[in-house]
């Protein structure tokens, strides 16, 4: 079975490389600063002892005060997993860096989040409607929709 990496231990390792990037370390998760997400994700992807080469899924939730986007990472090589979380506090123009450059599998899921929650992913090659149709107004998964 895939072992979950201990958040606190990994946070210490990341603190040396990216000071201040980890806001909070959970049991098997890390809450990251949004502007550091891409740098940390790239390190997690490429560092040989971590080698997170597979993105299980991207999900997002509206918590009224902020949007939280969750990335479930797995390393096929080492058979370990990690959960990354990023918060997006701007409700008017929520924006996060896209991880499609690191994991192509994020493509459709980021589009879905863009479609249903309205978070725009900077650097996404094709950020358009995916489940709703062209011309649909609003973002239905936001808590203030309707």
């Amino acid at each position: 079975m895939t072992t979950a990496l201990a958040g606190a231990k990994l946070a210490k390792q990341l603190e040396k490389k990216f000071p201040g990037a980890v806001i909070e370390a959970g049991a098997d998760s890390l809450l990251l600063k949004a502007d550091q997400l891409l740098a940390v994700a790239e390190y997690l992807n490429t560092a040989p002892d971590l080698a997170f080469d597979y993105l299980n899924y991207v999900a997002a939730t509206d918590y009224y005060d902020y949007f939280e986007v969750v990335y479930h990472l797995v390393s096929m090589k080492h058979n370990h997993g990690l959960v990354l979380k990023v918060r997006c506090h701007d409700r008017q123009n929520p924006s996060l860096p896209s991880v499609t450059g690191l994991w192509r599998g994020a493509d459709f899921q980021e589009r879905e989040i863009f479609d249903l929650l309205g978070i725009s992913f900077e650097g996404h090659p094709n950020l358009r409607h995916i489940v709703l149709w062209e011309g649909f107004e609003g973002h239905p998964l936001r808590k203030d929709f309707l």
Binding site: H129, V131, W133
Partner: protein, 196 residues
């Protein structure tokens, strides 16, 4: 391959969106049940009664359903077609994948606006005469999803419905009863009303 080539072209999506928005704007009121001819007793039973009888018999005993199973009511429909309930007793076991060969649409499931143009297109492609059973709460009125942003509140917004079958989902027995009603309706239809 260029990365842009992997994605669908903008104009295809824009055309789809336009189509859906136009259909939505057109479909704000339900289409009335096209059964006003059922009361016209006088016009019936003149001239072509025996032709009517033969035509009605032929039509009602070989109703071929069309594929339209967008959601969970489909399982009751599949059960109805399977051995225990067996709609082949009514000559209906051939469920046509092509709408041009079918004459009964059993709308088994929730319809979203994104799917609505396709369902309307399937209905338009069916040859006359054609009938529709709205199967289940979602097909009748949108059911529990009625107020959702993406769900069509009843198939009668986009196509005329002949028989409404309540239930969530209806049992196969109920579907068989609805098919009985459709058969009754078909046998009452006369050539005289055909033009309507």
């Amino acid at each position: 391959m260029e990365i842009e080539e992997l994605y669908s072209r903008d104009d295809v999506d824009e055309r789809e969106g336009r189509q859906i928005n136009e259909l939505m704007a057109r479909s704000q009121t339900p289409i009335p049940d096209p059964d006003d001819w059922l009361d016209e007793e006088l016009k019936r039973n003149v001239l072509v009664t025996s032709v009517d009888a033969v035509l009605g018999w032929a039509r009602r005993t070989s109703l071929w359903p069309v594929f339209c199973f967008p959601a969970c009511c489909a399982f009751e429909l599949i059960t109805t077609a399977a051995s225990r309930f067996d709609i082949s007793r009514f000559g209906m076991e051939i469920i046509r994948a092509s709408p041009r060969q079918g004459d009964l649409m059993i709308t088994a499931g929730t319809l979203t606006w994104k799917m609505a143009p396709q369902v309307k297109r399937i209905y338009d492609q069916m040859a006359e005469p054609k009938w529709v059973i709205a199967m289940g709460a979602c097909a009748i009125s949108g059911g529990i999803f009625r107020s959702s942003y993406s769900v069509v509140p009843g198939y009668n917004r986009i196509i005329p419905v002949d028989v409404y079958l309540p239930g969530c989902p209806p049992r196969p027995e109920a579907l068989l009863y609805a098919i009985g009603l459709i058969r009754k309706k078909i046998s009452q239809k006369s050539l005289i009303q055909e033009g309507k």
